[in-house]
């Protein structure tokens, strides 16, 4: 397969040499692929803007000895711009990309569900469908479920005793009944359990109408769950901007900036 084509999400980019980049892609059919994008840091490159993190692209690659080479790129989901123009979206999105990179460990092993999950979450983020922290937490819970670590927020994660229950145990996998509860397990608000269950199942009506207080508590539990299941910590999680989305004033009308030249 010297030349192949696939849909892909750009997870990360690293500088290579003078003007090239190595791009890590999560492709729909081939799983994770690392490829060289030649000359993309130069002015004349047609690819540069399309091979940025958060972009969903239709890409053609040439199989190489160690790394493949990108030969063509078309945009499918132009999410980079809207995401990096809002700091909350950017930091939530970066945590999603890092989580995907970590959950899909092996290269060239198809991870179709992870692909669709991430593509959907990036679209929701870029379109501001929901609060960025909710999109991130929902994505993390569902990506873990796909990876085989599905948490339970209603029935007891250990014995299956029908819930709701009061305690939460990261190590056990979510809600725990009073008999299975390890000592020292926190007892989040019942609404937090409801929110977590809504985020896991994609019940957005319930999630969108949740309180800031319960969102914060849920985020804390999702972060603990994430760090517990990934061997190394997710570095971008501590950078997630949790400033509540305030009613943003419209941007000021463009004015003429001050002259930059000052005659000597």
């Amino acid at each position: 397969m010297p030349l192949y084509r696939d849909d892909a999400i750009v997870l990360r980019t690293q500088k290579l040499g003078e003007a090239d980049r190595i791009v890590t892609l999560l492709t729909r059919e081939q799983g994770k692929v690392r490829a060289v994008a030649k000359g993309v840091r130069r002015t004349s490159s047609r690819f540069g803007a399309r091979l940025e993190p958060f972009m969903v692209v239709d890409v053609q690659l040439h199989t190489g000895r160690s790394l493949d080479t990108v030969t063509q790129v078309e945009t499918v989901g132009p999410y980079a711009r809207p995401i990096c123009e809002d700091y909350g979206l950017y930091t939530a999105g970066a945590a999603m990309l890092e989580a995907a990179d970590r959950l899909v460990e092996a290269e060239r092993e198809p991870a179709v569900q992870q692909y669709w999950l991430l593509a959907g979450a990036l679209r929701a983020l870029a379109q501001r469908a929901h609060a960025p922290a909710l999109v991130l937490d929902s994505y993390l819970l569902r990506a873990f479920a796909v990876a085989g670590w599905a948490p339970s927020f209603t029935d007891c994660a250990r014995c299956g005793e029908p819930g709701p229950h009061h305690s939460f145990s990261v190590a056990t996998g979510g809600a725990v009944c009073s008999r299975c509860r390890p000592p020292g397990s926190p007892a989040p608000a019942p609404e937090t359990f409801t929110l977590l269950a809504a985020l896991l199942t994609g019940d957005w009506d319930a999630a969108d109408s949740s309180d800031e207080r319960h969102r914060k508590e849920a985020s804390g539990l999702v972060a603990a769950y994430t760090q517990y299941h990934l061997e190394r910590t997710l570095r971008s999680l501590r950078h997630v901007d949790r400033t509540p989305v305030a009613t943003v004033a419209p941007p000021p009308a463009p004015t003429t900036p001050a002259p930059t030249r000052r005659e000597a």
Partner: protein
């Protein structure tokens, strides 16, 4: 693998940015074959740069004394500060001869996946420069890629409420590219056409 000193040199060269094992080997053998005086000049330049060059205490640019040449220049305006990621971006913008204000070098861009947040950059230093009200405009000239845009977004949100005009270089710059690769005409035009993003 080579014997002792040669392998040590290859290893050291291989740690430089953009130098792979093959290039490291090529450079090492070039140096081995080179004239002793040429090699001495290189050694002197390396020693000199570590001994003499430091970072400007005002803007973070490379400097040979406490303040860099630009910060020490009384003919340059203190009212406009251009924020860039790296010292090499200062060089790129100086080439345009379009800008007569001062700079602020952040030391990188916000990149959560690489564990670089606002606190890892010279953001606090920038905010304290703006505190006395002398600066009227901040031009955000971070790279036109995702990390650079996100850094500009963050800074605009932070600086906006201080009553300082915040502007961003105009589009026309290669998106996804590095600022240093933009030719001076394009970069100059981007300066002229910069847009206000916050006030």
């Amino acid at each position: 693998m080579y014997e002792g000193a040669v392998q040590d040199l290859i290893d050291e060269l291989g740690r430089l940015p953009g130098v792979g094992p093959k290039s490291a080997q090529r450079i090492a053998f070039h140096l081995l074959a080179a004239d002793a005086t040429d090699v001495r000049r290189l050694v002197d330049a390396l020693t000199e740069v570590k001994a003499r060059v430091r970072f400007c205490e005002v803007c973070g640019n490379v400097a040979e004394s406490e303040r860099c040449r630009i910060c020490a220049d009384p003919r340059r305006s203190d009212e406009v500060v251009c924020v860039v990621e790296e010292p090499k971006d200062v060089v790129a913008i100086e080439r345009t001869r379009e800008f007569r204000g001062k700079y602020h070098v952040l030391g990188g861009a916000i990149n959560p996946i690489e564990n670089v947040g606002p606190d890892d950059l010279r953001v606090k230093e920038l905010m304290s420069r703006l505190a006395d009200g002398v600066v009227q405009e901040v031009i955000l000239a971070t790279d036109p890629n995702v990390e650079g845009e996100a850094t500009a977004t963050y800074l605009a949100r932070l600086i906006g409420p201080m009553g300082v005009t915040v502007s961003r270089l105009a589009s026309g710059l290669p998106v996804g590219g590095d600022l240093e690769y933009a030719d001076e005409v394009t970069l100059g035009r981007a300066f002229e056409g910069r847009r206000v993003v916050g006030r």
